[in-house]
Symmetry: C2
Subunit: 547 residues, 2 copies
């Protein structure tokens, strides 16, 4: 296998561990916990895993542990550092007992159900330390939700003599990990289930989980690119760059990148929704900033756009809902309409309010809304090129203002979408250390007989030495939410808080950033330089954890 010079050099990196995990540890138990809301309902659903105490690991006496077999699953979208969770877990269980074994289930939770697995030997794990990606065993999006899946999984678990499963995933995967933990506990199968908080989106966090892994590296990688684009923008002085950023619903990535690079504009979906902004409001906001800069002779700038924006615009949400509903019931009739008449047809069928919005959309987007549908017949919002939609509409508005004498300038746009560029980047030192610690902590939770816990590493803005490792009962993070028409226990998704420190910092600066050119150029992630260059956590984390 050919490797780059950096791959080779980086393989030798020894991730930093919290001090307490360096030697023998004992579990210090805190008080019993409660779910964040709907306590009675959650308690009823999780009789065996509700109300468990918080765990913190502290230095202790060496104890002899029996060998254990552990299974590990990567669930959902990739995030930098997944391989380090696995290597931390591997090193942890090997330290407990050198005869412990680690099995990896192939291509996600489906591997457990379909009995596809491999043993992760020292040799294999060695190849993946400090690397990005989930390619060691692959990931997948199968949801572990049903009893027959749990039972199918139990078959292979029994066969391999597995004592515990570690599920590395986002909020839904961790919810399902807890349902599985509860199920195995209720059945007295003696199989522990531990979760690990993964997602570049940054929307799995709360009081006990300071950040999900991968967010740090992904944001730094996107910020490197955006910084480079800003330098270009400020050199050639002739383009507005519309940059869409992955992150699903929440705007954490866009906000973090904004704090890192100081763009001219950054749209925050949560604010758009809170202020009940229309698409035209968003367009006007951007166009106004373009016009203000143009008046100073600056016909260039950058706009960051969160991937999930469209669904946070209340009016667009309503339009999409009506379109989904209408097309579900009239698919056959719609299929008969000539392509050139589809737009008029749709306009004639929608309510007045939604018809007006639909009519205002550029042709390409309007077509996307009616043509590209997922297997359930729903509009695939993620396919909408929001960055082009916005720049097209801004161009139309500016042309109108120009006619009215309200705008003098030139407007030319470039478009970018960053997602796949960051999900599998080699982890930053932060993510390498954090993930390794999460995996190692998971092994300690297993050793202490815990189930239904999420591995937790806190105090992450301090040096790694001072990080606090422990476990959080997953039920503690749950509330009841309506999903597909049914009330379900789920981990609360963390959207950007408009009263949180990161957004407030951004809000305090953004007028200046919009008008002036205050670009910051973060550059590529560094692994070998001074600590302030190599080990700094995200701005989001620094602001959130600032005392």
């Amino acid at each position: 296998m050919t490797k780059s010079a950096l791959q080779i050099a980086r393989a030798a990196y020894q991730p930093k561990l919290p001090k307490a995990l360096k030697g023998a540890v004992i579990a210090k138990e805190g008080e019993a916990t409660q779910s964040v809301a709907d306590q009675e309902a959650i308690k009823a659903l999780f009789p065996n895993t509700y109300g468990m105490p918080l765990i913190q690991f502290v230095e202790g006496e060496a104890v002899e542990y029996p060998a254990i077999n552990v299974g590990v699953i990567l669930s959902g979208g990739q995030a930098p550092g997944g391989h380090n969770v696995i290597s931390g877990l591997f090193d942890g269980i090997k330290k407990l007992n050198k005869d412990s074994k680690l099995y990896g289930f192939i291509l996600g939770p489906g591997g457990l159900v379909d009995h596809k697995y491999m043993e992760l030997t020292a040799e294999i794990v060695e190849e993946y330390r400090n690397t990005g990606g989930f390619d060691i065993i692959g990931s997948g999006r199968t949801k572990l939700e049903k009893e027959d899946q749990f039972e199918k999984g139990y078959e292979i678990i029994k066969e391999l003599g597995i004592n515990a499963l570690v599920i590395i995933g986002g909020d839904d995967s961790n919810t399902n990990a807890c349902v599985l933990a509860e199920y195995y506990a209720a059945k007295k199968y003696g199989v522990q289930v531990i979760g690990c908080p993964k997602t570049i989106d940054g929307d799995l966090k709360n009081e006990m989980i300071e950040t999900s892994f991968g967010f740090d590296t992904a944001c730094k990688t996107y910020s490197e690119m955006i910084g480079n684009i800003q330098r270009d923008c400020n050199s050639s002085r002739k383009y507005w760059h519309f940059i869409k950023l992955m992150g699903r619903s929440a705007s954490h990535i866009a906000l973090e990148c904004a704090l890192q690079v100081q763009p001219n504009l950054c749209i925050v979906s949560e604010e758009v929704e809170a202020n009940n902004m229309s698409l035209d409001d968003v367009v006007t906001y951007i166009a106004q900033a373009v016009a203000t800069r143009a008046a100073e002779g600056n016909n260039f700038g950058t706009v960051l756009i969160p991937e999930g924006l469209i669904e946070f615009i209340p009016a667009m949400k309503k339009l999409i809902a009506e379109l989904n509903d209408f097309l579900a019931h009239n698919a056959a009739e719609f299929a008969m309409v000539k392509k050139s008449q589809q737009r008029e047809y749709i306009i004639s069928k929608l309510s007045k309010e939604n018809a007006d919005i639909y009519a205002s959309l550029p042709e390409g987007v309007a077509r996307q809304l009616t043509l590209d549908r997922d297997p359930h017949g729903n509009v695939q919002v993620s396919l909408i090129e929001t960055e082009k939609l916005l720049s097209d509409m801004v161009a139309v508005k500016l042309a109108q203002w120009k006619e009215e004498g309200k705008y003098v300038g030139k407007f030319a746009a470039q478009h970018h979408f960053f997602g796949y560029e960051g999900r599998c980047a080699a982890p930053s030192n932060f993510d390498a250390d954090y993930c390794y610690s999460l995996g190692y902590t998971a092994s300690m939770l297993i050793a202490n007989g815990k189930t239904g816990y999420m591995s937790s590493v806190r105090n992450t803005t301090a040096p790694a030495e001072e990080w606090i490792a422990g476990g959080v009962p997953i039920t503690m993070m749950m509330n009841m939410e309506r999903r597909h028409g049914e009330m379900k226990p789920v981990i609360q998704k963390a959207l950007v808080k408009l009263d949180g420190a990161p957004f407030k910092k951004f809000a305090a600066c953004r007028e200046e950033w919009a008008k002036e050119t205050c670009y910051v150029y973060p550059g590529p992630i560094q692994y070998f330089g001074p600590t302030e260059v190599c080990d700094e956590p995200t701005k989001t984390l620094q602001l959130e954890q600032a005392k």
Copy 2:
């Protein structure tokens, strides 16, 4: 000004210089030179700057130099390291005499003509050392070609007491630098003109100019991103990523990235042209690789596509030529055709051969070819989304093969275009050192009274200490070419040589890369680590310079 931690740390980097430039130097002159072709014609056009000797700087005795005033111009597209050429030049002329002054002309060659300039003081230069971008004075695309421009320039040159101009640009800008040098020499204005080889595209190189600056950093930045995408691709195993890369006509960037990341496929425009491949041939080549991998259960992969591909497909070139010609003469009539009938209209008007090709193109591209035209009425080939065009056509072909039972698999594509992400990246150590050396060398050429020379730093695969600094008469690189219907003296553009070492290496590996998954993950550019990680030149340079 807010700066990132890396910006601050990187500002302290002292670029490495060739040993000969560290102390006092003298110019060692070689034999008289000749142009690469059309010697008589070039000699006639450049009576004052033709046939000059090669220059090499070697260690010498310290000499006292009078203070000089130098003007510097950034011409054309940005390339990483431009600021270091300026800082090397600044340090060089200050070392010659501390009262020397450097003036920067604003926003490219236009700044010279329009008398827009600023003095580049130590304080200003300090802010830009080792940074990407051309924002210190901005760049521009004005071509210095006409006598009245030369005369306007001379006015401000006289006013500022400027002894020499340094023009940092690509092949055309350096050609113009030489024309300007010749003009000022003929007029005995006493103004020297020195060029510096800049372009990320890598197409300004020859025996004496081993590489143009910026190519190293841009390729490494794109390779970082492509590597990340490949890791993602190999983890989720469900997408083919079609990745278009900047680089104008030549495929150097795509080829270098291919050598760095080992993608499944890389199209090389020069080969497509040499083999007289049709668009369908290219599509079939890709589809065949997709089908072969699918047969092994691998429904994923990566394809690198050079920006200039379309114009290298002989049939497409002909189609575009006929379209340009037809639409130039029938613009009014075409404007009257209904949008829904434009395609049929065009097909009815083209020659049979071109009509067939036009009819085979996906609708979006066909429209782009007739609608989006530059101010001269020409198709804007750079706007064609080749990456989408190819994946659309591959999808159609695979669907056809599926019906014929020749293909079993799933094909889903993702698209990327990298350009602005790399043009202004902070320079790698190589580009930081190379550029600084080029700028410093330019100051030595000036001190030695040279004009019509390009700054040259060779032996660049050795440690910087051993680099050879000197000057190459620009006329030496020239030949006569037809441009806009007229024979002009120009620097030969270096396309990818199909018998060159980089292409041959790629060609020797590509079958294996296409079939297997041999991805390499270069990761982000490093500045502080081990030398094999931080200082390695491009694969292209290593292969070309290998003895």
